[in-house]
Symmetry: C2
Subunit: 90 residues, 2 copies
């Protein structure tokens, strides 16, 4: 594999609290919405959305690096789940 | 339209800073990643991800309400863009 030839990938990472973890911020937003009249809202969960642009030799290498980044820095695996979508960019 | 018959929709809302707006948090994360050895990361932008479950008569009504919620509470239209995906839930 020639590491000198790299391609640019843009990843969209979605980080959410695990379902068993309480989300006080989400509850506050839901309460705010209900006070504004949106009483048809039954649940709000708040997460993070991160867009990362990175260079990698191929898609598998990019996915592996993104997994590591999420585990080490972007997400807290104890209380959060993450998933990502990736696309080639020019 | 019979408002008594409602369906439950789950919306995934992605809120991102407008491209012209600086993202210091994203820059800090990018710097952190580079210090950890991920020097192939060229851009990081951080946004919010909100999951909302709401009852509505039909999809058009749900979309209209979500647009209003985003404009009024969830996003700051001056500096942020939003988009959402929606699906029926049981």
């Amino acid at each position: 594999m020639d590491q000198l030839v790299t391609q640019l990938y843009r990843a969209k990472i979605f980080i959410t609290l695990r379902p068993s973890v309480l989300d006080p911020a989400g509850t506050a937003v839901q309460s705010g919405l209900q006070h504004m009249g949106y009483d048809n809202v039954s649940q709000v969960r708040i997460g993070k959305y991160v867009e990362v642009t990175l260079a990698a030799a191929d898609e598998a290498a990019a996915r592996q690096q993104l997994d590591q980044m999420c585990d080490q820095l972007l997400a807290n695996p104890v209380i959060e789940n993450y998933r990502f979508e990736m696309e080639l960019t020019l």
